[in-house]
Symmetry: C2
Amino acid sequence: MENTVTIKDVAARAGVSVGTASRVLSGSTSTSAASREQVRAAAAELGYRPDARARALRSARSHAVALLVSDVRNPFFADIAHGAEQAALASSYVTLLANANEDTVQQDTYLEAFLTQRVDGIIIAPQGEGSGNLRDIEQARLPLVFVDRTVEGFDVPSVTADNAQGVDLALAHLASQGHTRIGFIGGPMAVSTGRARHDAFLRSVARHGLDDDPELIAAGDFRSASGGTAAARLLAARRPPTALLAADSLMAVGALGEVRRQGLRIGRDLALVAFDDIEWFGELDPPITVVAHSARELGETAMRLLLEVIEGRPAESVVLPMELVVRQSSACRQATGEQPSVLLTPGPRPGTA
Amino acid sequence: MENTVTIKDVAARAGVSVGTASRVLSGSTSTSAASREQVRAAAAELGYRPDARARALRSARSHAVALLVSDVRNPFFADIAHGAEQAALASSYVTLLANANEDTVQQDTYLEAFLTQRVDGIIIAPQGEGSGNLRDIEQARLPLVFVDRTVEGFDVPSVTADNAQGVDLALAHLASQGHTRIGFIGGPMAVSTGRARHDAFLRSVARHGLDDDPELIAAGDFRSASGGTAAARLLAARRPPTALLAADSLMAVGALGEVRRQGLRIGRDLALVAFDDIEWFGELDPPITVVAHSARELGETAMRLLLEVIEGRPAESVVLPMELVVRQSSACRQATGEQPSVLLTPGPRPGTA
DNA sequence: TTGTAAGCGTTATCAT
DNA sequence: ATGATAACGCTTACAA
């Protein structure tokens, strides 16, 4: 069973020693044209495929990196994964993609697996506080990069979004439309982006002189169902909001459903702005206004950083700017007598890839 | 750098031989309570983590399986991945998830990687015809399972959906609403599901006595942009359709956008039914009618099959039934004077998990 | 029950 | 330039 052709077989067939065969196959030191040809031919004829495990065992480099996302089913992370994977492939690294499923235990399970698999490095969108395994990784000096989220107390390069800017962009936009009561569907406080967006919301509300009402804040868990629940709670407030800001796309979708069930229509009765642009949002009816950054770029950058760390070069954290993409979901104005101050962009996201 | 604690260190610290240490750690043959305790303690104190590669090299079992999906960014495949991953974890297998990105070349790149990594088995949603690497895998008798899609000429267990049934369910539903001109947004003919759904469409159109017009068929590539293009083409027909059936969810989304851009409204001016249920579809306005099967179950079943093959037990292919979930996107009836014959289910999918 | 040693497929070292 | 041989970290006969 399986491919049991080893380098020994190749060497034998080529009439050289395994040493020479190895040298030819891994293209390292000098070899004669003759043996090069013989070995190549033998390898091809036999369908030889080197054993990555044996190779890694001996040479302490597996050329495999791991990417642990918090939820593969979240298009945002799927895009990150895609970007990272492509970048890895370009440098001929294999990516082992795994899914923590927003669960600390599963996160640890996979970290453990990566540790025992001796991958060359790990990119993670971490959950909660630093788990034991995360500490072990740092202590073992195994190359590690945070993407999208961070954990306090870790001195690890990261690629994140400028969350404060994103929130402010969203609120400035809504404020300019005359909204003063804006409901916030936040993420879990155990996640850095959840905290950052929550804090930024409070600051931004103050800065723009909007209503500062605890009833306008509801927390979710970055999954769609919680977005619906949160929206319901916000809409049931004594003085309900006229606009909603959702801290991620999945919760925005949940909110969408709840709003519809209440017989309201987004973009007419209620404005909605979501974090994270995903392919879909421009296609919906109405298209959804977002504050976003390219998830793909996030993933690519994270992988670039990781490969730098692996090769021993210094890597610096990157904070990507966020961008406001105005679509029709935030088209409804509150009565204040002003003229519209922004240009409506219908359909898919313009310009930026 | 890295965790360089080996079983030798553990053995030394525990005051036993490596043999004994190994036996304790992998819990195989009989060991004395004394040494068990010593070894356990030593391992814990040293933070010992076995090297999976060395272990696999020696024992010809890596406990790692690979899952190659055609597009991670497609929620349908993300769900499959999630299901498969959970099932693997339950049997303490690690899943290496990779993304072919609907690209034959990338598919081959990853298959090559899996081959050299010596995974214990592979689940794949294959592209196009059997590539060279796919043949190699079959010949090497490396455990292989197809999920969602198949490739002709391969004698490999598979888990697929009953596509013909799905199409027929959709058309029967639309026909009962009085529609006779139904536009089909198909998938690529190079993919088995694309072919199956296309053929089923033709048969089903005949069976229900619907308009058989070549202008009512447009092909896409299972990505959202192509859904928009296809919808545009269909709507530009001399006699445009009154209902649309999209062969996957991504293309349905693209169609959604195109329909909106044409100033039409789904569920009022045009009916829409999509293949593959995804969390979102029940939350949209209007909620989308689908023919679906549980992607998660598809993934779980595929992994179950794979593990069976790996353990040497015989595995039989599974065809999962599809189910029609009627929502408001197909609520608009064509004038035929009949009464509605189906119950409208608003909101998220009922019953089935 | 335990220690010793061979071997998994490679690469790296050291002669030649 | 090439051939022998040790070594990577582990499991598993085979003895004891």
